[in-house]
């Protein structure tokens, strides 16, 4: 069915300097407006990134507006202010009631107290999960390709229930069932997604994600083995202890790399098994090595530049300190404010650098490995209705869900 000519490749054309400039300028505006501009900042960065992605020469379009995001946030605040304030205090009170005396507490009591502190985090968890689904729905509703809207059905509470259920199952099996969690949640969202009138379907089977988990399992194996060796070495020989320590160190690194491997491989599998409108297929070939390289090189460069930026601010601040003596009250306040402003500018710059040194290269790599099979069938897809009454991911903004973009 698919001839060679009918394969479309996604391209990413975003560049460093324009995105750095955009992120930095909008970051400064966000600081100046005490955070209010952040909704416009996110919108403008998305417009840039969406417009960098193209298939067959046609670019994607992000149609969200900063104003509707701000409005969505205000609506979420009305509800969350009351809920979060009350729940925080009640949970803190409950935490105090199981507070133990640090001088006399037994280890069991200490553990119970730590567990209780973590349980308090679960009070907002349903809303965080709700916000995750709503944020994806909002982004779909505000994405267009060739003038046609993407979209997603309502269903955030169904997502919350499934995420909690599969999450508990995964936790109870010590993470072994992670593929089930990943697959079922992605299927829940993908099966409710549309491009125009055409529906997406997630095919495939969750058990086929297990190979992607292999490096995490190897890492855990090394960690367990190393711990056993150390325990044995303490009693018998120093050699065992050394080998065990080595295995623990290698195992820890292996788990981190294994987690990236899992993210990359599961993305590839889930993309390969998505079908649009029963006839359009997808394929993705992201490489773990490239992603890790981007993290490491980008991270090193970012660390270096951050050191330079904060070093300059620190040096200027130190140069100002002798001036503090003899400066009056007003002079002191002015000098301290200048140092504070320098620090904020450096912080905004480092955030912008993180966007172009880490976020964008990794995103670009993922996108450029995606192919669309039988792309000519897209021509037959018709427009869908506009989504009104959407909360513009206000809950996600209030609860700080969603990351860089």
């Amino acid at each position: 069915m698919n001839s060679d000519q009918d394969i479309m490749t996604l391209r990413y054309a975003g560049e460093r300097e324009p995105l750095l400039g955009l992120t930095f300028r909008t970051g400064l505006l966000t600081v100046v407006t005490l955070g209010i501009y952040r909704f416009w900042q996110k919108t403008r960065i998305r417009k840039y990134i969406w417009s960098s992605v193209s298939a067959d020469g046609d670019t994607f379009e992000y149609t969200g507006t900063g104003l509707e995001k701000f409005l969505g946030f205000l609506i979420a605040i009305v509800f969350l202010a009351i809920y979060v304030g009350l729940i925080q205090m009640v949970l803190f009170f409950a935490g105090l009631n199981i507070m133990v005396d640090p001088e006399t507490a037994s280890p069991q009591q200490m553990i119970a107290q730590i567990v209780a502190i973590y349980i308090t985090a679960f009070a907002v968890l349903p809303f965080v999960l709700y916000a995750i689904y709503r944020a994806r729905r909002y982004k779909m509703a505000r994405t267009r390709f060739r003038g046609i809207r993407f979209g997603m059905e309502k269903g955030a509470w169904g997502y919350v229930l499934r995420a909690i259920g599969y999450g508990l199952l995964t936790a109870l099996t010590l993470g072994i069932l992670t593929p089930l969690l990943t697959f079922k949640l992605e299927k829940y969202m993908a099966d409710r997604s549309y491009y125009g009138t055409a529906r997406f379907v997630q095919t495939g089977n969750w058990t086929e994600l297990f190979p992607a988990l292999k490096h995490v399992l190897i890492g855990i194996g090394l960690l367990v083995l190393g711990t056993l060796l150390v325990a044995a070495g303490v009693m018998s020989s120093a050699w065992f202890a050394f080998l065990g320590g080595l295995a623990v160190a290698v195992g820890s690194v292996w788990i981190v790399i294994g987690a990236i491997y899992y993210a990359v491989r599961s993305f590839a599998y889930l993309t390969d098994h998505k079908v649009l409108g029963k006839e359009i297929g997808f394929a993705a070939e992201p490489r773990t090595g490239t992603v890790i390289k981007a993290y490491v090189l980008g991270g090193l460069l970012l660390g270096l530049l951050a050191t330079v930026a904060f070093g300059i601010v620190g040096a200027l601040g130190a140069a100002f300190i002798p001036l503090l003596e003899g400066a009056g009250m007003v002079g002191t306040v002015v000098l301290l404010s200048l140092i504070g402003i320098g620090y904020l500018v450096a912080l905004v710059l480092v955030q912008a650098l993180g966007m172009v040194l880490i976020t964008q290269p990794i995103l670009a790599h993922y996108i450029q490995t995606i192919r669309i099979e039988n792309g000519s069938a897209l021509d037959r897809i018709a427009q869908r209705e506009t989504e009104t009454g959407i909360d513009a991911e206000g809950f996600a903004d209030a609860l700080d869900v969603g990351g860089a973009i």
């Binding site: 304030g85 925080q88 133990v100």
Partner: protein, 372 residues
């Protein structure tokens, strides 16, 4: 302007159409023509809008302003221009090209919800959370409060530079005995809700604080600066006032609620955490100023009942006043202006009769050497 090629998406299907674009004869509109279109489209220049913040500067995506239900009032059709001369001409001659159009009535909605959000936040911060903190502070069992207080003092010890639990505590036996003597002089015969446990930490800062559950900590710097035991007793009485009215517990409860709320409202933008912290401090300063005044009055009554002169109280605040290098505005400071407090104590002391020192000279000497 010459006829030029462009891509057109009609907003109805995902098919791409190759079209020709030219300026109309009256020079007021773009005329779009092509095989896929039944008849040429006329897009008035006035209505043209282009997508902003795009990555590819070699293309310009045009759309029209139209009254639709979309997120922005725009026609769903898109015209993609790739001819650099036309792009340049559009950018030069159309100042409203990147204008963001708004749906009518949007500002009214923004103002309504902004008012609602501010009202909900303010109601929580200034009415509901303080009231709940009051109630909950009364409900919590004393032994839990004591455990919480011990955790707080242990944390305080680490914060002040102690390497571990108990490393900063001053334990000289004679000094501790003097401290106990001072405490029993102040509290004997009074019905107290808490067993007060006083400690001295070896730190040069001039300060004292009351943790929940009767834990009072004084720093060595305070003993060094004080000119006589009556001054130390005044500070101790003040801190006991905080203990008895459960100020520390109430404050911790209220802060737990409002800190989470403020971080959420301000978001995770750069410096947001710092602003949330300042905000929280401003609010708590308001509450603690009232609590400080109450603790002062409690302390004066305690000193009076124990026949200790409040002159020490006045002297101590005078000295604090001289020490304040930078005069913080009253709303930023948690303590009422020190000169006023000194005056209040002096007035109180002037009518006291039959007072005697809280410690004898030998005890006072031992107390000052408690950290040695």
């Amino acid at each position: 302007m010459q006829r030029t090629e462009a891509h057109f998406f009609d907003g109805l299907t995902a098919g791409r159409h190759d079209v020709h674009v030219a300026l109309s004869e009256d020079r007021l509109a773009l005329i779009i023509s092509g095989d896929a279109l039944d008849e040429p489209l006329r897009w008035p220049l006035m209505d043209l809008r282009a997508l902003a913040d795009t990555a590819d500067k070699t293309r310009l995506t045009l759309t029209r302003r139209a009254d639709t239900d979309d997120e922005a009032p725009r026609d769903p059709a898109r015209l993609i221009i790739l001819d650099p001369r036309l792009i340049d001409w559009m950018r030069r001659t159309r100042p409203g090209l990147f204008k963001a159009d708004l749906h009518p009535g949007i500002w009214k909605r923004i103002l309504t919800y902004a008012g609602g959000a501010i009202a909900a936040t303010a109601l929580m911060l200034f009415v509901i959370l303080p009231a709940m903190a009051n109630t909950l502070a009364q409900l919590i069992p004393v032994e839990r409060e004591v455990a919480f207080g011990k955790t707080v003092t242990a944390q305080m010890e680490r914060l002040l530079g102690g390497s571990g639990f108990g490393t900063l505590r001053c334990e000289s036996p004679a000094g501790k005995a003097a401290l106990e003597a001072m405490l029993s002089r102040l509290t004997d015969g009074r019905d107290m809700q808490y067993d007060i446990a006083v400690q001295v930490f070896d730190h040069e800062m001039v300060n004292a604080f009351a943790a929940p559950g009767g834990q009072v900590v004084m720093l060595r710097g305070l003993l060094d600066m004080a000119d006589g035991p009556d001054e130390v007793a005044a500070v101790l009485a003040h801190e006991i006032g905080h203990v008895e009215s459960r100020d520390a517990t109430r404050n911790a409860l209220r802060a737990a609620g409002s800190a989470g709320l403020l971080t959420m409202v301000l978001g995770d933008f750069t410096g947001g955490a710092a602003i949330a912290l300042i905000g929280e401090h401003m609010i708590s300063a308001g509450y603690t100023r009232a609590a400080e005044a109450e603790a002062d009055i409690f302390a004066l009554q305690l000193l009076n009942a124990a026949d200790v002169s409040a002159k020490g109280f006045a002297r101590f605040f005078n000295r604090l006043d001289e020490m304040d290098a930078m005069d913080l505005p009253a709303y930023l400071s948690t303590h009422p202006v020190t000169a006023e407090r000194a005056a209040q104590a002096r007035d109180f002391a002037s009518v006291q009769v039959g007072t005697r020192p809280v410690l004898d000279p030998a005890e006072w000497k031992a107390l000052r050497k408690i950290c040695e």
